[in-house]
Symmetry: C2
Subunit: 216 residues, 2 copies
DNA sequence: CTGAATTAATCAATCGTTTGATTAATTTTG
DNA sequence: CAAAATTAATCAAACGATTGATTAATTCAG
């Protein structure tokens, strides 16, 4: 059956994604991946051509879902720039927690010096997201809602950087935060809302020009 | 001469540090390292015992200078908590730009799942720095200078995360910021002050309880 | 001369990949 | 439908290449 075949390929991709995210591309051997996936070693080459082909296939699968997620927050004219930022934070945090391993893989790939077709493609896609965020901030600046001297690039790096730091240094973060960062339940129930709240509380006073509220 | 020998060992460490930071531990072969360092392959084992020994030696060399840099900002009683934060930011940003390759190596190691003696030692040292920062923030909270609902852990992750994201994704950052992030001159002259200013501008309104300043 | 430094040659182990054979599934043919 | 032909999936075994490491011989320094 076709369904069986797709399921098996998908299973291999799942396992490989996790292994790659744990030990890196060079650290993961084809024997290790095939072993953990419970398939014969030759199947990797049979399905994906090569180890690198398998690596690329993981990205292709994820990237396919990437583009569709980019709903244009900017479309709604009746929301303030800050409300759009809040919406973006919500979306962003939700997304990164849904495909943890891939995020780690992605970041590892980006931090490597080698550049090729894959890296270029990834960068293009990431840039679409980044520029979308840029536009929101810029519109806030133009409308006078945000400060004029906001460092747009740095704000973006902040959003992505905080999350990457926490998720990609699991042991440090676990000690720092006092609970196991690998525990998915704790992540979703405690950490996700905490990250959202923090990003909002951090960025709001930096971005938004405060109005006179009557207290004090 | 001893001096000669130390120089050569140091040279190997320099090269290995760069290579490891570029292609990772598994991606770097001993032949690659020895070749770029211009020494015979066997010298690596002669000096450092093994590839892993070389890796550890890089950390030992850096860590030796780590501890001394931890001057206690907390000592001065006459500075406000925010001024201590500013001083910490200054120190931190200066430091990370002085040993770029190692910072990348360090982060790669931390993001790997495997844990051993090295990782534990690194974590201990990092935690000393982190807890120092914690103390500053906490003292600010206790004195009423900072908000009571400040998320101390998240603030710390922000400081480290922004820098890591920018420096460890050189291509993305270069496109985002519009200049080559690998160019050391541009980094020092333009980027370093920009990062310092941003971190201060970002954290101040989040941490510090604003007083009535007379304007508007 | 003696011990340390350096080299080329070599080692077993592991790497990613390929092979030829076998089984299972599908299509074609009469 | 049933037998034959074809294709797809799976496997154990082996390939050449590269890995980190070691050896033994040679050079160098004091």
């Amino acid at each position: 059956m076709d369904k069986e075949k797709i399921d098996k390929k998908d299973h291999i991709l799942d396992v490989a994604e996790r292994v790659f995210s744990e030990v890196g591309f060079d650290g993961a051997s084809t024997r290790m991946i095939s072993g953990e996936a419970g398939v014969n070693m030759a199947m990797l080459n049979y399905y994906f051509g090569s180890k690198e082909g398998l690596f690329l296939a993981i990205f292709e699968r994820r990237i396919a879902t990437f583009k569709t997620l980019l709903v244009d927050i900017n479309s709604d004219e009746h929301t303030t720039a800050w409300e759009k930022i809040e919406k973006y934070i919500e979306m962003y945090v939700e997304r990164i927690f849904s495909n943890n391993c891939f995020q780690k893989m992605l970041y590892q790939e980006l931090s490597m010096g080698k550049r090729g077709e894959l890296t270029d493609n990834i960068n293009k896609i990431l840039m679409i997201n980044v520029s979308e965020f840029f536009k929101i901030v810029q519109s806030g600046i133009d409308s006078g809602e945000f400060r004029k001297d906001v460092d747009v690039q740095m704000v973006t790096a902040t959003m992505y950087g905080v999350k990457n730091y926490i998720m990609n240094t699991p042991y440090v973060s676990s000690v720092m935060f006092g609970f196991d960062i690998k525990d998915e339940e704790a992540l979703n129930n405690i950490f996700k809302p905490r990250l959202k709240n923090f990003l909002k509380a951090l960025l709001k006073p930096y971005l938004v020009i405060e109005h006179d509220h009557t207290n004090k």
